[in-house]
């Protein structure tokens, strides 16, 4: 170990360190600080230890929100991924249709999230909303404000409308990178439409699909704005996801301690899931 270490380079990292400290580390430490204390206002704090964490992990409210979140993520993935693949497969590969389709697909992605929420909030209303009014006119009793099932349907349809395009665009990028020779060879080998999909298109989309699933899972697990605008977490708590629950606790009830504990647990879950996905993806790459 006669190597000379030159530590001057650390100074170059300093600006970033300071920036990250102010933007992430210090706020995070504040949260950690809150999570182990109790307060009755006036900036007076009492040591609470792991009390909030114990309370959180044994509260049915937390687990229910978590369950709702997982079910939501699962449903939208189960719809958006196959639907996205299906649309991508049927999009034109050349000609004037390509730019038209791409622009149409990109449109929902460009709309701000709270606007998406507002659009669907109005769209689904059964007095003035185009969707709500006509669904009711068809004799189907639809009211997302009062019926939990209708609220779920609305939020899921909204998310599918908003985000399927992302899956489509990623898959499309994977599809157009397949050379014609593959399709020609498949014809010569007498492959069926299904075999072409299973052995040529799907393997080529594999990687982008993994990214699409990762992005959609993370986003849907952290979803806040759209359901908040549409249902506000209701009716009752039926569409209260983790993030909505967190905001209710922190800003609605001003329970800083429990909210901080919840933030940390939420943060750790996301961190864990990111790590799992990252590992899966890098392993997959190494295998190739």
């Amino acid at each position: 170990m006669d190597k000379t270490w030159n530590n001057k380079a650390w100074f170059l990292v300093l600006p970033v360190l300071v920036l990250v400290a102010f933007s992430a580390v210090i706020p995070l430490m504040t949260v950690v600080n809150y999570s182990v204390q109790d307060t009755f206002g006036n900036n007076v704090f009492f040591w609470a230890g792991t009390e909030w964490f114990e309370e959180l992990l044994s509260s049915s409210r937390f687990w229910e929100a978590m369950t709702r979140n997982l079910i939501f993520s699962f449903i939208i993935l189960a719809i958006e991924v196959p639907l996205g693949i299906f649309i991508a497969l049927n999009m034109p590969k050349k000609g004037w249709g390509v730019p038209v389709c791409l622009v149409l697909m990109a449109l929902p992605l460009l709309i701000p999230w709270n606007v998406v929420g507002t659009i669907w909030q109005v769209f689904g209303r059964n007095d003035i909303g185009l969707l709500g009014y006509y669904v009711n006119a068809l004799g189907i009793d639809y009211n997302y404000v009062q019926d939990p099932f209708d609220a779920w349907v609305t939020i899921i349809v909204m998310d599918v409308w908003h985000w399927t395009s992302l899956v489509v665009l990623l898959c499309y990028a994977g599809l157009v990178s397949i050379p014609d020779a593959f399709y020609q060879a498949a014809k010569i080998d007498g492959a069926s439409r299904w075999a072409v999909f299973r052995y040529i298109q799907l393997p080529k989309m594999n990687r982008v699909l993994l990214i699409a699933v990762l992005l959609r899972f993370m986003d849907s697990f952290m979803i806040y704005t759209e359901p908040f605008v549409v249902t506000g977490g209701g009716p009752g708590n039926s569409t209260t996801f983790l993030s909505i629950d967190l905001v209710k606790t922190a800003l609605g009830q001003f329970d800083l301690g429990p909210a901080a504990a919840m933030s940390l647990v939420y943060f750790l879950i996301i961190l864990l899931l990111s790590w799992v996905f990252y590992t899966v993806m890098t392993n997959y790459d190494a295998e190739r």
């Binding site: 020609q184 060879a185 014809k187 010569i188 007498g190 069926s192 052995y199 393997p203 190739r288």
Partner: protein
């Protein structure tokens, strides 16, 4: 195996072709004999891949007919024509093993699994990949992948023809020789009708019994490698085949004499050329450099190891000559044309000479 008749086939990629220039394939009328090894040779964009895709059924010709053993297959799909084709870039099914790749075309056709196994094992032996059978196909090298592409054709015992579309483009030079000789062997053992598209003359000349030279959407000459070399029917064939290509120079003809500037060249016979632009073509191998003949000025000498290529000016025109490795260029160089190597062209097409 099949004899393939290409019957007055024309093809255009445009919806309403009018002029000749609109056609990627102007008119091809040719028979590929059963069991023959053919090379389609030509520069990029000459229509050779178009012709190949018409034979395999990936393209439907705008005009003309295609017969396999006398049966009209013009409107049959690729699958019904029972053709094998190997593409420029290896096409393999990544997620499958080598074995499954070869079994794929058979399984698609509903062949019983026992027969599939037998055929696949045979084919693996033929293409020398038996020990790789259980490996995933994506881990293989380019030449192995290309062999799998070929194997997927060979595995079907009843294929009418095997078509190759510049199959060695992405293969390392030393593997090219190996693959080419393996192909040749397969052809000799099993007598497949093979059509091989390439723009590499060495590849074409070593692979094929008959080389079909294409230029600008049409066939300019069909012949054995020797015929193409000795008697190019079109000046293009002269340029394209041979390295360096044929020397072509405009001349005036008078009986058995050609006049090039102030030089007079004795011809082996009187050409039947009365009209059109007359040119004299001679391969560098037939240009004799010495102390007698027409005076030239040397521009440079390229030493290629086995022989030297001399670049010179004759009457202000570039001319190349090939001389032996041990020969030297004389101080006052002159050239003579060996009459055996002289061809006369009228409007770029070769004309016969009367003795």
């Amino acid at each position: 195996m099949a004899r393939i008749d290409v019957n007055h086939v024309r093809h255009s990629y445009l919806p309403n072709p009018r002029k000749d220039a609109d056609f990627a394939l102007r008119e091809v009328h040719h028979t590929f004999e059963d069991g023959g090894a053919y090379a389609l040779l030509g520069p990029s964009g000459c229509g050779k891949t178009t012709l190949l895709n018409i034979i395999s059924g990936l393209l439907h010709p705008s005009h003309g007919q295609l017969l396999f053993n006398g049966k009209d297959v013009t409107n049959l799909s690729t699958q019904e024509r029972n053709i094998a084709q190997v593409f420029q870039f290896p096409v393999i099914y990544d997620t499958m093993t080598v074995y499954d790749n070869l079994a794929f075309p058979l399984r698609n056709r509903g062949v019983p699994e026992a027969d599939v196994d037998r055929k696949v094992r045979e084919t693996l032996e033929m293409i020398d990949l038996a020990s790789w059978a259980k490996k995933k196909a994506r881990g293989l090298t380019a030449d192995q992948k290309q062999k799998i592409s070929l194997g997927r054709g060979l595995v079907r015992s009843d294929v009418n023809a095997i078509l190759f579309d510049e199959p060695l483009t992405v293969i390392d030079p030393h593997m090219k020789w190996v693959l080419r000789s393996q192909l040749k062997q397969l052809h000799r053992r099993f007598g497949y009708t093979m059509v091989y598209v390439t723009h590499d003359q060495t590849e074409a000349l070593t692979f094929a019994d008959q080389v079909v030279v294409m230029y600008d959407g049409g066939i300019v000459q069909i012949g054995t490698p020797a015929e193409l070399f000795e008697r190019p029917r079109h000046t293009f064939v002269g340029y394209f085949i041979g390295s360096p290509g044929m020397n072509v120079m405009p001349v005036a003809i008078d009986g058995k004499t050609a006049t090039l500037g102030s030089q007079r060249i004795e011809l082996p016979g009187a050409p039947n050329a009365d009209s059109g632009a007359i040119e004299l073509g001679i391969r560098p191998e037939y240009v004799r450099l010495g102390r007698d003949g027409m005076s030239v000025s040397i521009s440079k000498v390229e030493d290629l190891g086995r022989h030297k290529v001399v670049r010179a000016k004759l009457e202000g025109r570039d001319i190349s000559a090939v001389i032996g490795e041990d020969e030297t260029v004389p101080a006052e160089p002159r050239v003579r044309f060996d009459p055996a190597g002289i061809n006369i062209y009228a409007d770029s097409w070769r004309v016969e000479m009367e003795a």
